[in-house]
């Protein structure tokens, strides 16, 4: 287990997450892609903290912030899914066309 190998795994998670966020039609699956990207970011942050900072506590603080971002993304995302579904009966990105103009 080296810093390089940890960062490569994180890069793979970010790549898969980006694929999911761009390709999925369903809002909830799209959010899974975003979560997967944040998962990779969390791994990269802790990897750098563990191997490169001699345990400076600010690295763990940054990881806590990444987790807060995850929670915010999840809560606001689900609330938006509910609001959009209630207004337009839409649960996929294709059902929303009003921003196209």
């Amino acid at each position: 287990m080296t810093l390089t190998s940890v960062l490569l795994v994180a890069a793979a998670l970010v790549g898969i997450g980006l694929y999911g966020a761009l390709s999925q039609q369903s809002f909830v699956m799209l959010m899974m892609g975003l979560e997967l990207m944040l998962n990779g970011a969390l791994l990269a942050v802790i990897g750098l903290w563990s191997f490169g900072l001699a345990g400076a506590p600010e690295g763990q603080l940054l990881a806590i912030l990444v987790m807060a971002v995850m929670a915010v993304e999840m809560a606001v995302g689900f609330a938006l899914v509910v609001a959009v579904y209630r207004k337009r009966q839409a649960d996929t990105t294709e059902s929303l066309g009003t921003l196209k103009q």
Binding site: L3, S5, L18, S23, F27, G52, M67, V76, F78, V82
Partner: protein, 209 residues
């Protein structure tokens, strides 16, 4: 170079689990299964975090993701036409572009990792990292920590506002209708269209309190 230790083997297994589960999230037919696969991916990453001498972050990830993915599974059942995966399903758009973007992101980040001069200053195993984190959170970085807390509070309020249909005086997306001044009477406050009704000006501000 050191030999292949038990930690390396565990790291390899957890990495494989994290990446394969992450990929299967978008390849399975069942959306509930997809959310549990995402949970598996998060748990594998949490295991790697534990290996990386970050016990607090690792355990917090496990707890947070266990709850979060259960909520996600509930949302899957609520919104999806095919939660159980009984029929094959592939709901994607711009598929080639997405695959290309994912592969390019992975290759670009990998190139950046392999080509850059990474720092090498590992954490001392004897270092009290959880105590360090606590002192950092409630010491020099308290403003950051508190700002994150306020952000989460604002998120809770925003989520409730966005998601709630019934406001205090009726459907939240149709304008407010305050209750009558007497039981069963006319609604107090301003009517949405014609501006009559007893009570008048000050009553329709009640819901701001």
């Amino acid at each position: 170079m050191m030999g292949f230790t038990a930690t390396d083997a565990l790291f390899a297994a957890l990495s494989l689990a994290a990446v394969v589960a992450g990929w299967r999230v978008f390849a399975t037919d069942s959306m509930v299964r997809a959310s549990f696969l995402l949970l598996l991916s998060f748990l594998a990453v949490a295991g790697i975090l534990l290996l990386l001498a970050a016990p607090y972050i690792g355990i917090a990830t496990i707890f947070m993701m266990a709850v979060e993915m259960m909520v996600m599974a509930v949302f899957m059942v609520m919104f999806m036409m095919n939660p159980a995966g009984l029929n094959p399903m592939m709901m994607v758009h711009q598929h080639r572009l997405s695959i290309a973007a994912g592969v390019i992101a992975f290759l670009g980040l990998s190139a950046a990792v392999l080509l850059s001069d990474l720092p090498d200053d590992p954490v001392d195993p004897a270092r009290p990292v959880v105590r360090d984190l606590g002192h950092e959170l409630l010491g020099p970085s308290m403003l950051v920590f508190e700002t994150a807390g306020i952000t989460l509070l604002a998120t809770m309020i925003a989520a409730v506002v966005l998601a709630s249909r019934p406001g205090r005086y009726g459907p939240s997306d149709e304008g407010s209708r305050p209750p009558g001044l007497v039981p069963g009477g006319e609604p107090a406050g301003r009517k949405p269209e014609d501006d009559q009704g007893e009570g008048g000006g000050h009553h329709h501000h009640h819901h701001h309190h």
